[in-house]
Structures are given as C-alpha cells and as structure tokens.
Symmetry: C2
Subunit: 404 residues, 2 copies
C-alpha cells in the first residue's frame, strides 16, 4: 500500500529518515495493549529511537519507565525527566556509573543496573558508596540491581542453572547501597529463528529458563524477584507472559525488514523508512544515495542475518519501493544487496526507477538507522512534518585530558 506521506516524501531532500506518525502510534498502542492485556509492565528500550518525543509518548501511553544500553542514553533520558531507567548493560567503569548516579539523584529518578559477575558488582558498589540513591516513592534508598540471565544469546549473563546466580544475588544483598531488584534476560537469538513459530519457541524457552532461575533464588531464601524479559520478536510472538512481570522490547516502535521476514509484521506496519534518490543506474543496479552511513551495514540485529541465503540478490540491507510506482514489479520491492558508505546497490531487474526518482527503503535494522541521523523527519497524517532530534549519540570529547 502506498503510504499517505508519499507526496511529501517526493519533495524531501535525500537521504532522509522518515517516521510515519500514524504507524508509530499504532505500534506503540499495540504493544502497550498487549502488555496490559497480559498484565505485565512495559519498559521500552529507548536505544531504538533515542528520541525524547517518542519516550514521552511511550510513558503517556502507560510505559513504567525506559530501558537503555549506554551511559549517554541513561543521562539523556534522565535529563529529559524520565522518572525510571534501567541500564541493561553491565558497566565496570566506576566513573561512568558515578555520572549516571549523580544525575539520577539530582532528578530523584529511579535507576536500575544489571550485573552478571563480581567485578561489575564491585564497580557498582564502589560508585554507590559515593553516590547515595534518592529516597524513591517506595521509601527505598538503595540502587536497584538486576541479575542478567543468559537465555541463549551467549553474550552477557549467568546461566539459569549456574551456582553463580545465587552467589551473585547474595553478594548484591550484602552491598549496603544496593537492593536486589530481579532477574533480566534478552533473547536476541530470536532474530535468527527464521519464522514466527521459531520465535515463539524461543519466547517459551526464555520463560522456562527465567522460571528456573526465579525458583532457584526463591529456594535460596530470596523474595520472588521481578522477572524482566525483552526483545521485540519474542514480545510480538509470545502468546502468554505467565511468570513474567516486565517486558522490554525496543524495535517494536518502528519495526523493520527483520520483523517482516520473521512473519511478525507486514509491509503495512513499519513506521521508519529511509527516503533515497536514484543517482545512477547500470546494467544491474540502481545506485541510491543512502549507504552504510545512512542504513548501517547491519543485515539484522546481533550480526544474526536471517536465513543466510546463497542468493546474492537477497535483500540483505533493505527493500526499496519506488515512490512513483509504475511497473508491476514496483509493488514487490527491489532488494538492496550491497552498500558503500554513501551508495546502496539496488537490483532493478531491468525495470525499476530512473535516475532522479525517489524510493522509500525498509531498512534491515531500524535501531541502527536512528543512530546514524541527527534528526527523524516525522510525517503526520495532516501533511505536517516535524524534526525530532536524536539524543545520546556517542563519542563525546574525552574529559580533562589525563596527562601521563
């Protein structure tokens, strides 16, 4: 279906990252509704949008707070007034922890951390000793700590059956400034599941593994901890969140080619598109003005390209649709198979758009696209455009140079 913002996009300078406000709103309401129906809290991952405007919409719709990955993201959203933030990343740098804590204390905001080992916990305890937590509405003045559980991605986290789990929970409880808040997982390997059924199996497996971890902690004498799970595919595919108290999807707000490939969304759902112009055309490719510096080189999250295909013409980096569809093939979309820094290689199959014409690209991974632009261009159904700044971009100058 041709999106209603097509006439507007035809007049944009490119490349432009365009967000369809109607779809954004639909995606936001769908996930919030699912959380409410299932009786779980929604704490969206803000790394997908890095937008103060979108964070406000999520909180107004009922989100309990935000999830972030970096210190920059934590500080940006705390500064913007978000009342509760989980930094779902083990952070062993004391100075970086102190910066977040100082800001959260100044804002009287809740800040939750994750640990998956004693060295990270030691750093957190050291920072907490210097920066007391504000007294929150529940009266607790200790920083919240989640234990990260690895449910299959093989990245951070403790195995649910490992003895380290209970040992770490005990160690958290012994730290004066910290309180044990719960257990937290990310089933990012769901992006490699192939289809919705495969994702559903991983979502079920995650819930079982987290139930095991929770039971072991209860058996060791802990109050039943909060179970927080999160990944857009599992949140979309799961039929039940029995035993889960909180979900933390991020990408759901935009969706992208991965969600469509997994059968978790249709082409009418994604809210984020890259508008690009054909700048050259050769025997095989239309060359577009949106390369790896606009679309990113991601073929999917966590380096997990879905169904690695021997077909060199598979839409590895995106699927492009002419804004002015003319030939029957235009509705199918044209695969973006290769990227230079500022050029996309789009296979035109002998038809497709001419030089100077515009296309809209569904990127492989929306979160990486947001990170690459200074602003999102948001298209409202009444034909209005707004520019929403992207916050928390990395690589600030080094603090006062430490001379050797």
């Amino acid at each position: 279906m041709t999106p209603p913002w097509t006439p507007l996009a035809l007049r944009l300078e490119t490349p432009a990252v365009l967000v369809d406000q109607t779809r954004l709103d639909a995606n936001l309401r769908h996930m919030q509704g699912k959380a409410q129906t299932q009786g779980v809290a929604l704490r969206p991952h803000a790394k997908s949008h890095k937008s103060g405007q979108i964070a406000r919409l999520q909180l107004a719709a009922g989100a309990v707070g935000l999830t972030v990955a970096t210190v920059e993201e934590a500080c940006a959203f705390l500064a913007a007034g978000v009342p509760s933030v989980t930094m779902a990343y083990p952070q062993p740098q004391v100075a970086r922890l102190e910066r977040c804590m100082a800001l959260a204390a100044a804002k009287a905001a809740e800040l939750l951390f994750v640990v998956d080992g004693l060295l990270v916990l030691t750093a957190l305890a050291e920072a907490a000793a210097k920066h007391p937590c504000p007294a929150l509405t529940d009266g607790d003045s200790r920083w919240g700590v989640f234990l990260k559980v690895d449910v299959g991605l093989g990245r951070c986290g403790v195995a649910p059956e490992s003895g380290v789990l209970v040992e770490l929970a005990r160690a958290v409880s012994r730290c004066a400034g910290l309180r044990f808040a719960g257990i937290l997982s990310h089933a990012g390997h769901a992006y490699a599941a192939g289809d919705a059924q495969g994702v559903r199996a991983i979502a079920g497996d995650e819930i079982l593994k987290m139930a095991l971890a929770r039971m072991r902690l209860q058996d060791a004498g802990f109050h039943p901890p909060v179970v927080s799970v999160g990944a857009t595919p599992t949140a979309l595919a799961a039929e039940s969140f029995a035993g889960v108290q909180e979900i933390r999807p991020g990408n759901y707000i935009f969706l992208d080619l991965q969600a469509v490939r997994l059968g978790l969304a249709t082409l009418d759902d994604p809210a984020l598109w890259v508008v690009a112009t054909v700048v050259s055309r050769n025997w095989k490719y239309c060359i577009l003005d949106a390369g790896s510096k606009t679309l990113s080189s991601d073929a999917g999250p966590h380096g997990l390209a879905l169904a690695p295909s021997p077909d060199e013409d598979a839409p590895r980096h995106g699927l492009a649709f002419p804004l002015h569809p003319e030939s029957p093939g235009d509705a199918e979309g044209y695969p973006i198979v290769k990227l230079s820094e500022e050029h996309a290689f789009m296979v035109h199959h002998g038809i497709g758009p001419r030089v100077g014409e515009k296309v809209r690209i569904l990127p492989a991974h929306a979160c990486s696209v947001t990170n690459l632009t200074e602003h999102l261009t948001v298209a409202f159904p009444d034909g209005r455009l707004e520019s929403w700044p992207v916050l928390a971009r990395p690589g600030r100058p080094a603090a006062a140079p430490p001379a050797i």
Copy 2:
C-alpha cells in the same frame, strides 16, 4: 608493538576512538611523498576523517584540495576554508547542488562535480544557471565537471569503451556554466583483491582503462582531460601512476584491518584504534563495550569482505589487543567475530583479558568508525590528548516543511 599511548588509554572512559598522532603524521607524509615522487597531485578523500584539523594538515603538507562524497561534507569543508573541493558523487537534487554552489561562490572556492549520465548533468546545469561560479585564479568562471568512469566496481560511472563517454563530454561542453575538467575513477573493488599483488593488478587495469577513456576523448577533439584515480589500496600498491594527474585516497590517513589483510600495511601503521573495556566473559567470548554503533557492522568497504572465510572465528569486525598484555596469545590479537549494537563478541581462546580490563581494537573499516563518533581523541607523543570534532554528520532537520 605496544603503542606509546597505552598508559593514557588505560585511563580513558570507553568506548573511545583514539588517533595516534605520530602514525597519522607518518601516513600523511608517506602518501604525500609518494604523490610528489610520482609527480601526481594528491586530493585526499575527507569522508575518512571528516576533520577540519586533519584537512588542514593534509593541505599544509601539499594536498591540492579535498574530495568529498556528500553535500554536508562539501559544505563543512568549504565553510572551514578549504579552497578546492571535488564532490565525487553524482547528485541529481538541484536544491542540494545549489546549496554547495552558493557556499563555494561566497568563499571564492573551486568546486568540482561528477556526472555519469544526462539526468545528473541536467540537474547540474540547472543549478549552475542560477549560481554562477566565482572567477577562479585561472580566470575560468565555470564549474568544473568530471566524467565518472566505471573501472570495475560496477557502481556509478560510464564504461571507458562506451559511446556515452564522448557524448557526455560534448553535453558538458555545451552547458554555458560548466567546464569539462577531466575523468575520474574509483577502483573500490581492489578491497576484494585478496593480497597486494591482486591490488597492484587492479591498479594497473584502472590506469589502462582510464588511458583508453582519455584517448577516446582526445580523438573526439577534446583537450587531454585530467585523469583522477583514487582508492587507498591502489594508491598504496601502485608502482607507477603513468598517465595519471591526480590521486584521491582517503583511508590511508588512518588505515585499518583491511589494509593489513591486503598486505599494504603492518600492525605498526594504523593510526585509528577503538579503546574498549571487557564488560562480561563467557565460555567463548569476551564481551566488549564497542558494538556496531561504535565499530560499524562493516566487514570492509563496499560490502566486500576480504576472503569470505568459512571460519566463524575470523576477525570479521576487528582485531583486539589487551592494553595490558600478559599471555603469549595477547600479541596475536583476538578476533571480533560478531557485533550487537553496543557489544562486541571477542573470541578469547581460553586466555585473554578479564572483566574491567581494556583492549585496543583495530577496526575492519576506519572510515565508518569516524562517522559514528562526535569526536576523535588524538594522542600526541608528549602524552597530550586533544578532542577533534567530527564534521558533517548526516541527517539535519528537513528544511522548511513542505506542507502538502
């Protein structure tokens, strides 16, 4: 060899993009020296660094101007006072061309464009009609136009043997505000050549193809056009630039894992490193705090990963070295095989650094790393650190919203 800035890097907050000033200077002098010895002009591609400081160093050492890919880059470097800029990207958007031309005219700077088809030329002529070129030192007040020749990358450009080449040159000459400046190529496919000998063969082939294009234009009555070629591998590998007047390498200023893999540099040459911290460690991987949002997901330029290996433990996204080497394996480096947005998966081979320890990463593609950071942290041999801002990041807000 452990770099001299190691003690300093041990105290940096991570992830940080660190530039070794001594090596930057050596790389700059090596390429400028080669250009001078061979009697060709050096016009570095600024997309690799996007830095006003580095541009000034290149011009001071003898570069004749800069090459850029985007309108944002052109405007940033024109505004910074660079006297001559080639925008080596076919641009069919008239409004974007006009913006560059207005700025170049205000700065009395030379601005050169590329075309590879009539539609792009028409856009350029339309913009030129509204924005006359400043009278340059040679008295010519027409905007310079290069014809882009495809020498094998299969991206933009006209085949050297194609009839379109002469036709386009004639069309340029018929445009009142434009002057035919020369022919321009980019042998980016050299990144897939496998080794230095393969790169040398591609460099030789490029020179032959450009000589053919030049001869055909001469035979058609044109004054012998300037031949401009450019890619770091070919510029490093070529033994002679006979028949070439200008080279446009970009990556040479930093170098990266691609140059080392191709045998065009050693591990003692690269000037750009990402300093990261181990945040978690599991049975196979050290997890580092530098993911695709710091290193980019590039496995090499133009989507051309070198020697696609069946070895899943190949250093696809970078090679990491502990800042505190302890075990014999530490000197070999540890491969970064997979990336999440904020996490790198580094294979530790049962040894390698502990949680909280720092590593320096040689990235697969330095140009993409620069694009992802707000600042470069530059380490001088005297132990000084400077923060150099990265210019021309993409995705400015849309100009005055065009209501439908």
